[in-house]
């Protein structure tokens, strides 16, 4: 992964910390989150890389990432993170930042027929304004 040198302002850091009450800078990149994530094959950045991008204040990259919308909040990463950073929660915070201020969530419910309502309600609450 290559990183541009330009970083985002402190505002995003504060906003994320406000929403999730965690400090992503505590991540020590052990990769345990990514190792157990069942959905990495659909992601552009692995969970630990999302953590690293946030840690480095590269929010533009994070906000453009597919990963935030692929994560299914299964909490495997959160249960296993030795720093108790709850990567699933970090993803939720980042999604919330996009949904609340930066336009819409980038998902559409394409297949409402025959899907249990649990899925419809969850995806609406998770991924859309």
């Amino acid at each position: 992964m290559r990183f541009p040198t330009k970083t985002a302002s402190i505002k995003e850091q504060e906003e994320l910390a406000d929403i999730i009450q965690k400090n992503v800078k505590d991540c020590y990149q052990c990769l345990k989150c990514s190792a157990g994530c069942p959905l990495t094959e659909h992601m552009d950045y692995y969970p630990h890389q999302v953590m690293l991008l946030a840690k480095m204040d590269l929010y533009k990259k994070v906000f453009d990432s597919k990963t935030l919308w692929v994560c299914a909040s299964c909490l495997a990463c959160s249960s296993r993170c030795p720093r108790d950073l709850e990567p699933a929660k970090v993803m939720e915070g980042l999604r919330a930042m996009i949904i609340r201020k930066r336009g819409e969530g980038n998902v559409e419910v394409v297949n409402p027929k025959g899907v249990p309502r649990q899925a419809l309600i969850s995806s609406m609450r998770k991924l859309r304004r």
Binding site: I19, A72, S73, P116, S122, K126, L127
Partner: protein, 274 residues
């Protein structure tokens, strides 16, 4: 008497017989339950953000009602309801700010005494494997049953505190008590793709198919779960397979119901018309 919280998905998808089977089993095993006089959807997911309180309200209402109706606990069948109600309960008892704000919204107090219970937990703790075994009328000998736990049932481990999230064994013990052989395979605690069923089907299909294939490879003749969404995903991902290649997906209640002969017993116990 336990309060019973059906949840919207279990109620709406009666074709799986989850509710019918669960209630019949509990009756045979001597556990009395009564549906809460009023309940609404728990919200289907627990909000991971710390600054949103409205998604907690409907669950708190159910917890509060359980308290008011003096039930010994709140029983759920669906893993997702269980997850949400239990975490909201935990939050109400451990986060003063959340409690204050929720009570302000509701203009009501919640004492925090409700215990949230899952059907599996009741079978383990209030009935016991031995008792289940004694009630078996038709042993399932010869059946090889894979059990699938999924996410919401197990995690986060420190709040759910029901099972060992990395190597749970409750459903296997139940399967054994019924006379069947539990099949151990990898991925039984991995995510099935959850709500991506409604927006990114390729994600839920590939995650689910990996699980189904592993169970089949380990020799399973059927797979059981306690979550309506897992059941849907695990079934749906097989839609392109030939019929004989498909692994049947059931609720955990199906083999119990069959082994206990609960259908027959539920009928016998109907009071005679007079």
């Amino acid at each position: 008497m336990l309060g019973y919280y059906p949840g919207c998905t279990v109620r709406a998808h009666q074709n799986g017989n989850f509710e019918k089977e669960a209630l019949a089993i509990l009756k045979v095993l001597g556990i009395s339950v009564e549906e809460l006089s009023e309940w609404e959807c728990c919200g289907a997911i627990y909000p991971l953000t710390n600054d949103e309180y409205v998604p907690l309200l409907s669950s708190v209402r159910a917890l509060k009602r359980t308290e008011e109706e003096k039930k010994e606990g709140l029983l759920t069948l669906c893993s997702a309801c269980y997850h949400v109600l239990k975490r909201v309960n935990h939050r109400m008892n451990n986060d003063k700010e959340a409690k204050k704000r929720v009570e302000n919204y509701l203009d009501d107090k919640y004492d925090g005494t409700t215990k949230v219970l899952h059907l599996i937990e009741v079978l383990r703790d209030q009935v016991g494997y031995k008792e289940i075994k004694e009630h078996v009328a038709n042993s399932l000998e010869g059946e090889k049953i894979a059990t699938y736990y999924g996410c919401l049932f197990l995690r986060p481990e420190k709040e759910m505190e029901l099972l060992d999230a990395e190597n749970p064994g409750v459903m296997e013990e139940i399967v054994k008590a019924l006379g069947a052989e539990p099949v151990i395979y990898p991925y039984r605690t991995d995510c099935c793709g959850a709500y991506h069923a409604s927006d990114k089907e390729e994600v839920s299909n590939s995650a689910s198919l990996k699980i189904v294939m592993a169970a089949k490879k380990a020799g399973a003749t059927q797979l059981v779960t306690a979550c309506p969404l897992c059941k849907h995903n695990l079934q749906h991902c097989q839609k392109e397979l030939e019929d004989e290649q498909k692994l049947p997906i059931h609720y955990i209640t199906a083999p119990i119901y069959k082994a206990l002969g609960a259908d027959k017993k539920a009928e016998d116990e109907q009071p005679l018309a007079n």
